[in-house]
Symmetry: C3
Subunit: 396 residues, 3 copies
C-alpha cells in the first residue's frame, strides 16, 4: 500500500515490504457507580491501552506472497504479544486473493474495512460478537476473495484462532467453520453509492475442552479500555452455531450511512435442550467536513478512509481532514425462552476524527451505554455509564 | 541466503538482511481410541498449528554479525511468542563461524539441517530427545563450527535455554553442558555421496529447581499438533546426563538414505541410585522424483533441499520439484532394570513434498505409531494411532 | 543513528529505519551462603540472561515519526517478550521532541543515557527504584524534551506501564504521574565539562488493584541474573509518591565522575498512617584508557560512550577502545520510624568495558553487596555476596 516501505528486485520477481498500524488509546469511564449489591468491575477513570501495534511484513516471489503481522496490542488491557496474521497467498488470478493460513477472514461490513479506516474506535458490539463465531483476527482460514467493480464475494473455511490450544491445555478437539460474504453496488453515481450485502458464518462444531463444547459470547462497552464485559452469556452442550444478516450502505455526497443486523442461532448437542437465539444491529452515520470524502473501495467491498488534500499546516490555512460520526448499536444476549440471560447492551456513541496527514490521525469518541441485568457480580441490577476515549494512530 | 532481502552499504562494511521461515500445519489424528481405564489425551481430529514463524534479522559490520530471530511458532499448540536465536558471530577465520549467545548448536545429523529442508515434518523422536539434553533451539552457546570440503566439526559449551528461568521462578541453579559433532565424507562421486559422523552432548549438571535436579525426557508422536506426550520419563536426583551415537548418510543418484543411533546415560547424584539408560534410532529414505536431487551442503554437513529447475506452471508442463520419503523411528524411554518405565515409541511414517518454486513448499505426512505402556493416565495399557498432517511452508 | 539501517524516499518525505540493541549477560554469584534460618534465594553460580533484545523500528513522514521497539529481553530472567516503546513524535520545533505514547521518559542522570552507553552493567539501585515510580521503560507518556548547547529540559505526564492491566486482572484504576528533569552545563572547556541538574517525579495516585493502592519498591543486586530482590518494602494505603534529587557530573580529560542522590516520600491515604521516607545515592568514576574519551551529548543531557578510533586489529596494533569504572551505590528502603524495614543495600562495583569497534562491546563487572535484614525468608539476618557478570553487546 501507499507509504508501506518496499524493496523489490530489479526484475520485479521479488518484493519485501514492512508497514505499521499503531493505535494508542487514552481515556476512561465516568458515571459508573454500581447499584447496591454489585461489585464495581474494572472501569478506570483514566487509563491507556496499546490497542494495536502491528508490523505487517510481506515477502513476495512472483505470484506467491507470505504475509506475517506480529501484534503487540490488545482489545482491552495492554501487555499482550500475539499475532495478527501469518498466511500464504496466491495472486495469479485476476482480482482474486487465494489465502491459506492465519488470517482475518473478510465477513460483515464493518470487519471488511481495515481498522485503520474505522469511522469509530471500535466495531459495533454485534459485529464483534458475530465475527468471533468463526472469523476474527488470526483465524486459521482457507479460501478466496474476488472483487469486481460492482460486486464482491469472499468465502473461507475456518479453524481455530491462533493461541486457542496454547492458552487452554485441555482442548481436545478444535473448531471448524466457514464464512461467506456477498456484496453488490446496485446504484453508483457521482453523488451516490449504494451498497447491499449479506454476511453469514457458522462454527460447525465449537472447541471442545474440559468443560465440553460451549459458546460464550460477551462484549465490552465498545471502548477498548476494560476487560469487564457487562453482557456475557454461556450456552453449554452446543452443536453448530451460526449467524447471518444483511448489510446496507449509502454514500450521499460527503455523508456515509451504514447499518447491519445479525441473528445468531445456537444449536444444542443434547436432545431436549432448546435452541438459543441472540441478535443485534446498528446504524451509523459519518460526515466528512474537511478533506476528500470517504469513497467506495472495491477491493474491500466497503468505504475507505477520507483523503487528506493538503497536510496540516495552520500557517498556510491547511487543516488536514476532519469527520464526525454517530452510532446507535444494540447487542442482545438475552433469550429468556431458552433460559439464557446474558444482558442487552445499547450504546449511543458520537465521535470526531482528525487526519493531519495521510499517515496519522486522532480520534475522540464519547459513548453512553445502557446494559440490562444478567448474573454477573458487577451487573446484578443493570449498569449504565459513559466513556470518553482518544486514539492516536499511525499507519504506514 | 538466496532470496533473503538484504541492504548493504556501498563499501560493503555494513549489511542488513531479513528472512522468513513460515510453517503452518493442518491435520489430525485418527484411530486413537483409548483402552479401558485410559483418558483420551488431546488428539484432535482436525486442528492447526503455527509450527514456525521466524523472522531472521541479521546486522553485519565487517566480520562481526548479530543474528536475531523472533519466533511466533510452537512445537505443539500455537500461541507462543518466543525467540529462536540471538547471537553474536565472528567470521574473520576462513570457513569458520565463531558464535556466542542464544543459538541452535549444530549437533546430530537431523538437527544440523535447516528445518526448511527437513525431509519429513518432524525430527525423529530420538533426535529431538537427544538435542534437548544440552542443545536445541535458543540454547545459550559459546563455540565454533568449521567446515571443509570433506570434513566438518562443531563444538559448543552450552547453558540454559531462553526462558528456562523466566518460566520457572524456582530455578536456583542453571544447566551447564557441551556438544560436539564431527563428520566426514569418505567417498564422493557424481552418483554417490557417503557421510559418516558422530554426535555427542552432555549436561554436566541439569537445572536445579524446587524439585531438585531432574531429567524428564518426553516426546509427542512426530506430528506437531498435540502437546500430549505418549512417552515420558522422569529421573530424579540426576548427575550428568550424556548422549552419543553414530550418523550415517548415503546419496545414490536421486536417493538419500540416512540413519542415526543414540544412547543416553543418566548419572545419579545420590549413591545407590542406578544409572539410567535410554536409546533410540531411525532410518529414513528420500527419493527426488522431479527437480534437482538433494545435494551435500558442506557448510551444514548434511544434505540440502532439492532444487526447483522451473517454477510450477502447468500450462507449460512445469511441476516444480517433488519427493517422497519413508521413515522408521524408535525412541525407548524404558529402563526397567533401573525402575523407569517411560514407554517405547515406534513410528512408521511416509510423506511427500512438493516445491512449486524455490520459496514455497507443501508437505504431507502419514504417521502410524505404536507406544508401549507407562504410568500416564492416557497411556496405561499402551496406545496406537495415526496422524495425517499437511504443512504449508514459505522460506525466504 | 549512525549504523541504523535506513531507507528513505528520494524527496526525503519518508524514511524507515531499523536498529538493534542486543545485550547478553553471562555470569553468576558466589559467597552467597545464607545464614541459619534463611532460605537460599535464587543466586545461580553460572547462568545467562538475554538482558535486552530490542529492534527499534522507525517510520517517518515529514515531521511526524512513529517509533516502535519490541523487546525480547528481561531485567532478571529471560523468556519475556514485551515492548520497549511505541510512540508518536512531532519534530517540527527546533531541538525539540514532542512525544506521546509508550516511552521511557527521560528522568535522572543515569536513565537519560542509552543503555548501550552505560558505564556499568546496571543502573544504580536508587536510580532504578526512583525511575519506576512514574517513569521507566514503556511508560505511557505525553510531554516534550528540549535541548540547547548549555541546558536541557524534559517533562512528561505519565500513566501506566505497558502490561500493568494485562498482568493483573484486578486493576480497577490506573496510575497517573509526571516527571521533570532540568540540567545545565555551567562550565565547559577542552578538558573540563561540568553537568548539574535536578530530577523529580511523582505518582499522583498509584495503581489500584484488589490489594488497594500500594507502593512496593524492591531491587536486585545491580546484576541482572536473578529475580531475587534482597531489599523490598511494601507500603499500603498510599497516596501520592514522589522523589527528587540533584545530579552532578564532571569530565576532566579522560575521566568522568557522576553522582546522584534521591529522596522518596510516600504519602498515605488513611489518616494517622505515617509518611514513609526512603533514600539512596551513588558515586561513579569512569576512565577511558584507549580510544576517544566519553563526550557530552547535548541531546541526552549526559555523557556518551567512548569512540573507537580504529577497529580492533591486533596485527596492526589496533585494540579498539577500553575503559574502567568503579561505583559505590546505596539504596535504603528502611524507615523504622514509620514501621517499614525493607533493608538497606550497599554495592561496591568495578568494571571494564572493551569496544572492538563502534557496534560491539564486551563488559565485565564485579559487584560486592552488603544488605541489611528485612522480613524476607531469604534475608532474615542480612545477606552479603558477590557477582561477576560479562555482557556481550551489539548495537546498530
Amino acid at each position: 500500500p501507499r507509504g508501506r516501505f518496499t524493496i523489490a528486485s530489479a526484475d520485479a520477481a521479488y518484493a519485501f515490504s514492512v508497514g505499521l498500524a499503531l493505535h494508542e488509546d487514552i481515556g476512561g469511564f465516568f458515571g459508573m457507580s454500581p447499584r447496591p449489591g454489585e461489585t464495581k468491575g474494572n472501569f478506570p477513570g483514566l487509563t491507556q491501552n496499546l490497542r494495536r501495534l502491528r508490523l505487517p511484513v510481506s515477502f513476495r516471489y512472483k505470484n506467491w506472497i507470505a504475509n506475517v503481522t506480529p501484534d503487540w496490542g490488545s482489545s482491552s488491557s495492554d501487555g499482550k504479544v500475539s499475532l495478527y496474521e501469518a498466511n500464504i497467498n496466491y495472486t495469479g488470478f485476476s482480482h482474486t486473493y487465494v489465502t491459506v493460513g492465519y488470517f482475518q477472514p473478510r465477513v460483515t461490513f464493518y470487519d471488511s474495512q481495515s481498522s485503520n479506516n474505522f469511522q469509530m474506535l471500535e466495531r459495533p458490539g454485534i459485529t464483534n460478537i458475530v465475527r468471533n463465531i468463526a472469523a476474527g483476527d488470526s483465524r486459521f482460514s482457507a479460501g478466496a476473495l474476488h472483487y469486481e467493480k460492482r460486486w464482491w464475494i469472499a468465502g473461507y473455511f475456518t479453524g481455530q484462532s491462533y493461541g486457542t490450544r496454547g492458552n487452554d491445555s485441555t482442548v481436545s478437539d478444535s473448531q471448524t467453520g466457514a464464512t461467506l460474504r456477498v456484496a453488490g453496488r446496485p446504484y453508483i453515481s457521482k453523488n451516490v453509492d449504494i451498497h447491499v450485502g449479506i454476511s453469514a458464518l457458522s462454527a460447525f462444531k465449537t472447541t471442545q475442552n474440559s468443560a465440553g463444547r460451549r459458546y460464550s459470547p460477551g462484549e465490552a462497552t465498545e471502548a477498548g479500555l476494560t476487560g469487564t464485559k457487562l453482557i456475557s452469556a454461556t450456552v453449554s452442550n452446543t452443536g453448530p452455531v451460526w449467524a447471518a444478516g444483511p448489510e446496507l450502505g449509502l454514500r450521499w455526497r460527503r455523508l456515509i450511512m451504514i447499518g447491519e443486523y445479525y441473528h445468531i442461532g445456537v444449536q444444542r448437542s443434547e436432545r431436549g435442550l432448546p435452541v438459543v437465539n441472540f441478535d443485534g444491529y446498528y446504524g451509523e452515520a459519518t460526515y466528512t467536513i474537511l478533506g476528500k470524502p470517504r469513497a467506495y473501495d472495491i477491493r474491500q467491498g466497503a468505504f475507505s478512509a477520507p483523503g487528506v488534500e493538503a497536510d496540516f499546516d495552520p500557517q498556510h490555512g491547511q487543516w488536514g481532514a476532519l469527520e464526525v460520526s454517530g452510532r446507535y448499536s444494540v447487542a442482545d444476549l438475552n433469550d429468556l425462552s431458552a433460559g439464557i440471560r446474558g444482558g442487552k447492551q445499547t450504546v449511543w456513541a458520537g465521535g470526531v476524527n482528525w487526519y493531519p496527514n495521510r499517515h496519522f490521525r486522532v480520534m475522540l469518541d464519547y459513548n453512553h451505554f445502557i446494559v440490562t441485568r444478567n448474573q454477573l457480580p458487577y451487573n446484578i441490577s443493570g449498569r449504565n455509564g459513559n466513556s470518553v476515549v482518544t486514539r492516536l494512530q499511525a499507519a504506514f
